[in-house]
């Protein structure tokens, strides 16, 4: 690790720092707008909002390993991945608020962010459902022999779903360029990995598919995540799928409608241990060790991130809501007679 960080430029490290901090502030702002904001015009509403504080190093590190023509797809815990992939935070926040300027025009919401222009494919909320979609994208890239690969985030809980099993096997049979990155935060809602899974070491599942067993990396350490995902993506371009793991943690409850630490007292102690390895601090420590007198620069990035988030909120608040025409639009791609038979 110490050696690897040496090879990264200051610019890169600061950019990563900026993004991690931005995502953290973005998530905290979402939390605030949902729970504390009083002005209805500024509130985030609805029954689902899954924050990813704690997993920022996993999200940013993995996404940074992608080339511009590579792809990323994930489940509902998707804000950080969207931002890391370069989706405009204004449009992400607008989506949270259900505005027409949102990435999905306000029709997808927090769980269904996507931005086709940066090959960020969403944002799906049926556990496991996005995994075959990711495999399908990889199939296309192999079909056209592009050399591009797909990064598919998979929750530890999602591994027990039939979708993962069938899609993983198919990817292996067809040797498709895809990295299944198990985002192992040890829990799915309130169920611990030991309670849900006969196999508690996710990468050991690779054997069931004759798939390459990739590394298990420290998900709080962005450099380690980046290096490992990059290597596995490159391997997968030529050789087929890889199953790897990033060990991380969920600092908040599963979603807004629950509070993990209310419901499962037995998990209480664990949070403190993981908070001690906050991905922001882990990266800041690296940077500070490598560059002396960097504190002002980091503080400036913090301030900038706050500004970006505040701006995103203003942008979202001031954006128009979708109307009836939006409600009925895009159910089908236009079924004009001429189109239908062209």
């Amino acid at each position: 690790m110490a050696t690897k960080i040496e090879s990264l430029t200051k610019e890169t490290l600061l950019e990563w720092y900026r993004e991690i901090v931005l995502i953290r502030k973005f998530e905290n702002m979402c939390h605030h707008l949902y729970f504390e904001e009083k002005d209805p015009a500024r509130k985030i509403t609805g029954v689902y909002l899954h924050l990813a504080t704690g997993s920022e190093a996993t999200h940013v590190g993995a996404v940074k390993a992608l080339g511009v023509d590579d792809h990323v797809i994930t489940a509902y815990r998707d804000h950080g991945i969207a931002i890391a992939r370069g989706v405009d935070p204004n449009r992400v926040m607008a989506e949270m608020m259900g505005k027409r300027t949102g990435t999905s025009g306000g029709k997808g919401g927090s769980m269904h962010l996507a931005d086709r222009s940066v090959n960020f494919w969403g944002g799906y909320a049926i556990v496991g459902g996005h995994v075959p979609l990711g495999v399908g994208i990889a199939l296309k890239e192999k079909y056209v022999k592009s050399g591009s690969a797909v990064l598919c985030f998979v929750g530890d809980g999602a591994l027990n779903n039939g979708y993962f099993h069938e899609a993983a096997n198919m990817a292996q049979v067809w040797k498709l360029p895809i990295v299944f990155l198990i985002e192992n935060n040890l829990v799915g809602m309130g169920t611990r990995i030991e309670e849900s899974s006969g196999q508690t070491n996710p990468v050991k599942r690779a054997a069931g598919y004759g798939m390459k067993e990739g590394p298990s990396v420290d998900g709080q350490n962005i450099v380690e995540v980046y290096e490992a995902v990059k290597a596995e993506l490159d391997w997968s371009r030529e050789n087929g799928p890889v199953l790897m793991e990033s060990r991380t943690y969920r600092f908040e409850g599963h979603g807004v409608s629950d509070k993990q630490f209310d419901a499962r007292d037995d998990l209480k102690g664990e949070l403190a241990i993981w908070e001690a390895r906050d991905p922001i601090n882990v990266l800041a420590d690296h940077i500070k060790k490598k560059y002396k007198n960097i504190d002002d620069e980091l503080a400036k990035l913090d301030t900038e991130a706050t500004q970006v988030v505040n701006e995103a909120v203003e942008y979202a608040v001031n954006s128009p809501a979708p109307d009836y025409n939006d409600l009925i639009a895009n159910v089908y791609v236009a079924l004009t007679p001429e189109y239908r038979t062209r």
């Binding site: 029709k107 556990v127 419901a263 939006d326 409600l327």
Partner: protein, 323 residues
């Protein structure tokens, strides 16, 4: 007699049946240590233990399939699908296994299984999480499908379901969980396949189930102010479908509106309308009108989502169209 929310009425039903019969056990995602996503099983893990309150992996096919096997073998599983949307993953397990086994093996096995599932929408849950697909499930013989409209019915219906020998899909409208009814202290059951008149009236028949009953009753109050008396029928069980009360009412009112939270096509309203015109053609003074969700996948943004949702106002308007 005490007031209980539908959540607590369901909880009481489960609790009584678990006490009454040791073969009854629960399985599903987050029902135990986490206390249930909708808190219907709050406290059960602590009271009944891990054998009878079984937290499962995120494996809907297996939840339904394993529960079916356990039911065949003599237990009485109550499996929870966190929401009915996820039950699509168990479509085959429920439709092509649970609902077929008794017939296919000519009665050798019975499947006394209850699959509970939260249903309904209107809280920005978006397209994949906003189904109320009861009619789709009720298409298939071998399955029983019920959906209560209030806490009182919920308790009696769920208890009857748990005691029944057939596989039952029992859906619970999320928006109704907090709503209270007076619940008697004595035990009661609501027979499977029995619809109910929820309000009497001579001018128009409104037929509904689940949350639609609430909109219908609200609409009936509004109409009453204009001296239009609506009779409101709660179908309660989409299968077996009891048309007796609806038919009797329609023969009196000669006009009918069907109200459903689900999508319009090949659905609940379709079946009720088709049956009425078939069975009571000579009594029809106007076409049967249907009030349902807008025919779109449901969006996230609050305002347009609500535009797509049926409500009492839309029911009132439909009634006026058939008068």
């Amino acid at each position: 007699m005490k007031n209980l929310s539908m959540r607590d009425a369901l909880r009481a039903a489960l609790h009584e049946e678990m006490i009454r019969d040791e073969r009854v056990f629960l399985m599903g995602e987050e029902i135990g240590k986490w206390q249930g996503t909708h808190r219907v099983t709050r406290g059960f893990y602590e009271e009944f233990g891990a054998e009878r309150v079984r937290d499962t992996p995120i494996s809907e096919m297996a939840i339904a399939g394993v529960a079916t096997g356990a039911a065949m073998a003599g237990l009485r599983p109550v499996a929870e699908m966190m929401t009915i949307n996820f039950a699509f993953l168990a479509f085959d397990a429920i439709i092509n296994h649970a609902a077929k086994i008794h017939y296919m093996f000519n009665g050798q096995f019975t499947v006394p299984l209850v699959v509970r599932a939260a249903t309904g929408w209107g809280n920005q849950a978006t397209a994949t999480h906003s189904h109320t697909p009861e009619p789709i499930w009720a298409h298939f013989p071998g399955l029983i499908v019920g959906c209560p409209s209030n806490a009182y019915d919920a308790k009696g219906m769920l208890k009857a379901a748990i005691r029944d020998e057939n596989p039952i899909l029992f859906t619970e409208v999320i928006a109704l969980y907090p709503k209270p009814s007076p619940i008697p202290d004595e035990e009661y059951l609501i027979p499977i396949g029995e619809s109910a008149v929820k309000r009497e009236g001579d001018d128009v028949t409104i037929v509904s189930y689940g949350r639609g009953v609430e909109w219908s009753l609200e609409a009936a109050e509004t109409l009453a102010k204009e001296d239009i008396q609506a009779e409101v029928i709660d179908i309660r069980w989409l299968r077996p479908l009891d048309m007796s009360k609806t038919l009797a009412s329609f023969k009196k009112t000669n006009r009918c509106v069907v109200v459903e939270e689900s999508l319009p096509h090949y659905s609940f309203g379709s079946e009720i309308a088709a049956q009425l015109q078939e069975a009571a053609f000579d009594y029809m003074d106007a076409p049967v009108k249907r009030v349902s969700a807008l025919d779109v996948p449901l969006p996230y943004a609050r305002d347009i989502e609500l535009m797509a949702l049926p409500n009492a106002q839309k029911v009132v308007q439909a009634v006026k169209e058939v008068l």
